[in-house]
């Protein structure tokens, strides 16, 4: 930027040596902020080698400075501002760095988890061990139970499900278990009697007669049932438990030769129903007892004297609704004494097992 003073007749090129002739053409673009000092001396005259004492030059220099100064000031300001923002940025970077350091530390803080994992694995091992112990105990318990059952000889008959037979069941098995309990209670009495042939009428699943057969290995067991499927199932149950037994599809004990049996067991269809429901040959025969629940029982009572041996014993299950007193009377008239062996309340039934003997 060249500064020109407009002076009348004053030559365009300045005294501070070295100005090109081209600068003459910028006379119109002049910005002068300095006072024009009149100077009559020409540049040619002042164009001496003495650079220190040139007032024109000084003035020019001042002018230049003046012109440049605001720009420089501006630059200074901007530089200062930049510097400040740089400082701020640095601070931000430092704080970010700190954060990152913290994050890294947090990430590095993993070893704690491993400890817990190890603890969990140890627990798992312990649980497995405990489980194995429980399993072994359970097995031993089962073996013990089995051997106890063998010792007692009663109530270890296990029912089997067969593919060929669909096991139809009556309402519940509580009555069967009560009969088995009654036999168990009379075990010593029966052992002294030493029965040779035993009969269960209406054997159903065969659980009772099988239990009896397991307790009395020297007794021949027979069973009857009006339902052929029950006969098959009884046979299965007995052979599964190692009891030799013959099953006959028969109505009560009608077709047997006289006075052969030392023990007769009967778990009758004792449920009080309409007479019409009683006497059907399907599964309802296992529970439908007709009037007073006694129609089937009464028929059998009159056969007992023909079937039972002289010193034989007859076990019969009844419920209160069957009016046991009447049964006892009937048997008494037929010549039999009676005893209540065991009784139990099962849900809404009061079940009783009686035994009859001469």
């Amino acid at each position: 930027m060249l500064i020109y003073r407009e002076k009348n007749g004053w030559p365009a090129d300045a005294a501070a040596g070295g100005r090109t002739p081209a600068s003459k053409q910028r006379t119109k673009n002049v910005v002068a902020s300095m006072d024009d000092t009149e100077s009559t001396t020409t540049s040619a005259d002042e164009n001496t080698g003495n650079l220190l004492d040139n007032p024109t030059r000084d003035t020019l220099a001042e002018g230049l400075l003046g012109l440049l100064k605001p720009c420089i000031d501006q630059l200074d300001d901007r530089v200062r501002a930049t510097r400040i923002s740089q400082l701020e940025l640095r601070q931000q970077i430092e704080s970010l760095n700190e954060e990152l350091m913290k994050v890294r530390e947090a990430l590095n803080a993993q070893p704690d988890l491993e400890l817990y994992v190890k603890k969990l694995i140890a627990c798992k091992h312990k649980i497995t061990v405990v489980l194995n112990i429980l399993q072994a105990s359970q097995d031993r318990l089962n073996d013990l139970r089995r051997s106890v059952g063998l010792e007692k000889g009663v109530r270890t008959a296990i029912l089997t499900g067969s593919d060929k037979i669909e096991p139809e069941q009556g309402p519940s098995a509580e009555d069967s278990f009560l009969l088995i309990d009654a036999l168990e209670q009379d075990l010593s009495y029966l052992k002294t009697k030493n029965p040779a042939i035993c009969l269960e009428i209406g054997s159903g699943s065969g659980i009772i007669v099988t239990a009896f057969g397991m307790a009395f290995q020297n007794c021949f067991c027979l069973s009857t049932d009006i339902n052929f499927k029950a006969c098959l199932m009884t046979h299965h149950t007995a052979s599964h438990n190692g009891v030799p037994l013959d099953s006959v599809n028969m109505d009560l004990g009608m077709s047997f030769v006289n006075n052969k049996f030392d023990v007769i067991i009967f778990n009758p269809p004792y449920v009080v129903t309409e007479s019409s429901e009683c006497g059907v040959k399907d599964i309802s025969a296992s529970w439908a007892g007709g009037a007073k629940g006694r129609e089937v029982t009464d028929r059998l009572l009159h056969e007992i004297p023909k079937m039972l041996a002289d010193d034989g014993v007859f076990y019969l299950l009844l419920i209160k609704e069957n009016i046991p007193g009447e049964v006892v009377n009937i048997m008494f008239k037929l010549g039999y004494r009676s005893n209540l062996v065991i009784g139990r309340r099962v849900r809404n039934e009061h079940q009783l097992v009686y035994k009859f003997y001469k």
Binding site: N218, C219, S247, V248, N249, S255, V257
Partner: protein
């Protein structure tokens, strides 16, 4: 076999004749005490006749000798006939009426019809 010796027909029809279509022989543990106790309860002649009718009477004496309970050979034969020989399929015939009672799957069906019950 033992069971059939306990069965009878309608009124006095005993013994029931055996008509065997399928005979099964199973092995059962020999229990001498058991057998000796059963023998007096049976009509031995009838048993022999029944065994003979199905062709298994060989070696079985027609008459029981005294002190049979000590004769293990005899007891074993009796055991075989009574317990081990089973009739799977066949018929039991009443000597009185000629009525046939079928045996199926080893189970004799003695159920009488409505008419017969009257």
């Amino acid at each position: 076999m033992l069971t059939s010796k306990c069965l009878k027909g309608v009124t006095t029809g005993y013994p029931l004749a055996i008509n065997a279509k399928e005979v099964k022989i199973t092995e059962i543990d020999f229990n001498p005490e058991f057998i000796s106790r059963l023998i007096p309860k049976l009509d031995w002649n009838v048993l022999w006749g029944a065994a003979d009718s199905i062709g298994h009477s060989e070696g079985l004496p027609k008459v029981i000798e005294p002190k049979y309970e000590e004769n293990e050979e005899f007891l074993k034969k009796a055991h075989r006939v009574l317990l081990e020989i089973e009739i799977e399929e066949g018929n039991l015939t009443c000597p009185e009426s000629g009525r046939q009672f079928p045996i199926s799957k080893g189970i004799p069906n003695m159920l009488l019809t409505e008419a017969e019950v009257q």
